[in-house]
Subunit: 281 residues, 2 copies
């Protein structure tokens, strides 16, 4: 078991932990190599057994002591249930193909985002606002944190692994060093029809309604120069004077929200109060 650091094993399996995540992994259709329970984690067995016991689930269920289990994980108070899952990987073609339901591909490429919390938040927010795919890419200077890495102090109800939630395909890792030169033109070819035809409206509203890949760079140093140069445009979020920058995940949240708002692709297109608590009605 390799639960620490979110790094995949040699054959591409990633350790995930927690009853809810394991349940989601089991239901996701991803390949499972094994499920592991600690002594105290056995209490989750009942919840998971209807899925584990299905005939198509041909993987071993393993048991270990609490102490050994704790030695395997990054978490302070592990729930005692873990699994080795093969993340849904995908081809470039799948990544840039928009799902039938979406108006146009909306991709996010993380190029050097270092903080695992930011990586998780950006992927989760992307999913929430209708992104159709994501790539995490190591830049020349600093790699993007693994989306499978756990936050040590994440509250138990926070979903920590986003690949299971992302409705579109998730291209887990591509190295910008070796592959950006082939990745960028293909990305451009898929999105350029739109940007060509709407070049004049790039300064207006329609950019968000076209196929878009949003590039998010390192928290400190931004995008590698080569990657930034390959972009069609640089987006500026208007801010109050005196504030230099936003946190990378907060900036991405604002942009995905704006994209969803303009695409009108969400159940309700406007944030609105949905309920007045009983004593105020």
């Amino acid at each position: 078991m390799a639960l620490r650091g979110g790094l995949p094993t040699e054959n591409g399996f990633v350790g995930i932990e927690g009853a809810r995540l394991v349940e989601e992994a089991l239901c996701s259709g991803c390949r499972i190599q094994a499920v592991l329970f600690s002594e105290s984690g056995k209490r989750h067995h009942q919840r998971l057994s209807p899925i584990i016991d299905r005939p198509e689930m041909a993987f071993p269920t393993l048991y270990t002591t609490d102490r050994l289990f704790e030695g395997l994980t990054d978490t302070e108070h592990p729930q005692g249930v873990a699994a080795l899952v093969h993340p849904r990987e995908t081809s470039f073609d799948d990544l840039v193909r928009a799902p039938v339901s979406a108006c146009a591909p909306l991709l996010v490429v993380l190029a050097g985002v270092q903080d695992p919390g930011n990586v998780g938040t950006i992927l989760r927010t992307a999913a929430a606002f209708g992104a159709t795919g994501a790539a995490t890419a190591a830049s020349g200077i600093s790699g993007t944190a693994s989306p499978f890495r756990q936050k040590r102090f994440a509250p138990p109800r926070e979903p920590r692994f986003i690949f299971l939630f992302l409705p579109g395909p998730l291209l887990r890792s591509c190295s910008l060093n070796s592959r950006w030169r082939e990745f960028a033109p293909s990305l451009r070819a898929r999105t350029s029809r739109a940007t060509e035809s709407s070049r004049l409206s790039l300064r207006g509203k329609s950019i968000w309604c076209e196929p878009v890949a949003l590039l998010v760079g390192n928290e400190g140093t931004g995008l590698p120069e080569e990657v930034e140069r390959s972009a069609d445009a640089r987006i500026r979020i208007p801010m109050a004077s005196g504030v230099e920058s936003l946190n990378a995940a907060a900036a991405a949240a604002v942009l995905f929200y704006e994209a969803a708002r303009q695409r009108n692709s969400l159940p309700a297109s406007r944030i609105q109060p949905s309920a007045v608590p009983p004593n105020q009605s």
Copy 2:
């Protein structure tokens, strides 16, 4: 020196660290108790001395070894310069009074936000989108992390202490346990004129243009019941199906952005591409 954990000393001073933060603290008008350099931190002395040497700066400048300095801080690779600063505290009246330039008070109350990264991001985003004040409040179940606590692995260019950036006053800490009962009605009294008169438009656009206090709760358990009940409305952010929730800081970013967008209070009211890199023009 008490640099660890962001907790204030008995007389209310908070340790901050890093050349840029110390410079901002020196320029902020906040009271300074002392500035401390380590051996290797002396390289920052030249940058700071024009401010430190001003006659009105009547605090001692201290020197210590690198080893002792490292023992004082939470940071992995400290820059070797720190200060004890008395954060700008403020009265409730100041907090709810809108600055002359703002259209209406836009406050954020953090009630039980546990992750120091989230607290920092929320305050920074609030400042960026024109919030006029902030309060961090311990809830009954879990306290809000100190806004002065440092993130251990924060990239060096990330501003880690937001109180210096927040244009409005920052009410640093009030305990919901003992003070929510007096805080909530006062807050309501200051914002209720608007919510009374626009009760019927609560479901429309105008809520964001009125005086608003946005309550943000714990990452796992949300707002304490008492606090939630005292609110006029619960805001729902529309999301794609299959995604249960957003990270607290991402949700706050979206709401502050929406408020700023509707208030039209930012330099430019719409996110737009600001520059096409040279090779794409």
